[in-house]
Symmetry: none
DNA sequence: CGGGATTTGTCACGCAACTGTCATCCGACC
DNA sequence: GGTCGGATGACAGTTGCGTGACAAATCCCG
């Protein structure tokens, strides 16, 4: 199948979107819940996915994360909520774009086209960050030390990915709070605690970290 | 160059965007006209471009087309006009995203990040100041002598960065106090002490400094 | 739906490292 | 040789970081 999967619980809106997109020349399919959408995508992947944030059961954010876990499919959020925090959270979760309802179908269509163009040109191998015996694979959602999987929690993983993505650069506690947690403000000790926990898991000698190092007064960084 | 190029004619808005993005950890550069932006991008390409639609001379749409012709760089339109027709036209012209002013910087930053993830933009190289065997890398938070990391404290590091940034120029103790410490007034001896400590760490012969030199009665400067 | 396990965020404390001040010494310049 | 600006060593106060304990939130499983 080639086309668009629309995950939206409101029957009227879903139908309207499906019809309008069909009119624009897309092959379409709908799902009323995140679970249904995920199942559909697994069985017979669409080229692009539209997802609402407020879904019954599994919510939109989690839906995005799970879609992303299996797949690099372009995801556009279509939400009624026009709130920076939601937008940031959705994009962080893995969405590619976020539009606010009601949306002009021409705009939606143009955004889908732009995204498809971008996704096509960028078909690339799965990136795996490696630091000595430490491997971090954002796509797989896995961390390995000397080839052995290390169990890390979601927050730890996001933190690790953020650091790995900017390997060699200092990231301040503020930057980490903002990028990993989405906090504008908050207790910086929180970062310390998670870094500490991460070190217990990924460092040979957690008291003398070789990869996840502290720069006193500046922040943390991943060392190659 | 690595980072974000902002093409926007309104000085106030451009400056605000640049500062905010810098705050988010981006390396930034601005251009006031499409022509200037295109030239900048050709000479020294940024990883991502922000462009306003209403520009004097060459307009935003044409600017996007020309950027696209040379390059696959991710382009985000930041416009005051919230009009489906403009949005569609901009995306058709080759833009990847379109946000309406005023925009929350957090949202913009998240969109840039999402786009970068999608475009798999090459990781930005790390800028480094070099003075003979002495390297100072603000991004990495590291100082190296002959390739070996030298442990410096935060204050020392800031001081060194300030001097390195204005290499070859004298900086008075007052200027340093103000830029490094944020003091309007204070004991100038403080600077001496930190310079001394720094010399112990980065100079081969601290008593006869070659890079961090004193200009009696004037201040200090970094010597190439 | 319920209860146990896991994860997450907060807090307070202790240690180590850093900062700024001061007094003294030194060397350049007139 | 005198004077002035700069260097330096010592020290006490402060700051920043790591950590263990704990409570709240969330997940997971039947």
């Amino acid at each position: 199948m080639a086309g668009v999967l629309v995950i939206e619980d409101d029957d009227r809106i879903r139908l309207a979107l499906l019809l309008a997109l069909e009119d624009e020349g897309y092959v379409v399919r709908g799902a009323a819940t995140a679970e249904e959408g995920l199942r559909a995508q697994r069985q017979d992947p669409a080229d692009q996915v539209l997802v609402d944030l407020m879904l019954p059961g599994l919510d939109g954010f989690e839906c995005i994360r799970q879609l992303r876990r299996d797949d690099d499919v372009p995801i556009v959020v279509v939400s009624a909520r026009d709130d920076t925090h939601d937008i940031v959270a959705a994009l962080e979760a893995g969405a590619d774009d976020y539009v606010v309802k009601p949306v002009a179908i021409k705009e939606l269509s143009a955004r889908l086209r732009a995204l498809r163009r971008r996704a096509r040109t960028a078909a690339a191998p799965v990136p795996v960050y490696a630091f000595g015996g430490l491997e971090i694979s954002p796509e797989e959602g896995e961390v390995r030390r000397d080839g052995r999987p290390v169990p890390v929690t979601r927050t730890e993983f996001r933190l690790l990915c953020e650091l790995a993505e900017h390997a060699g650069r200092v990231l301040s506690r503020q930057q980490l709070l903002s990028r990993v947690w989405g906090y504008d403000t908050g207790d910086e000790r929180l970062v310390d605690v998670h870094v500490g926990r991460l070190r217990q898991k990924i460092e040979a000698d957690p008291a003398n970290p070789r990869h996840l190092v502290t720069l006193r007064g500046l922040g943390y960084k991943m060392q190659r």
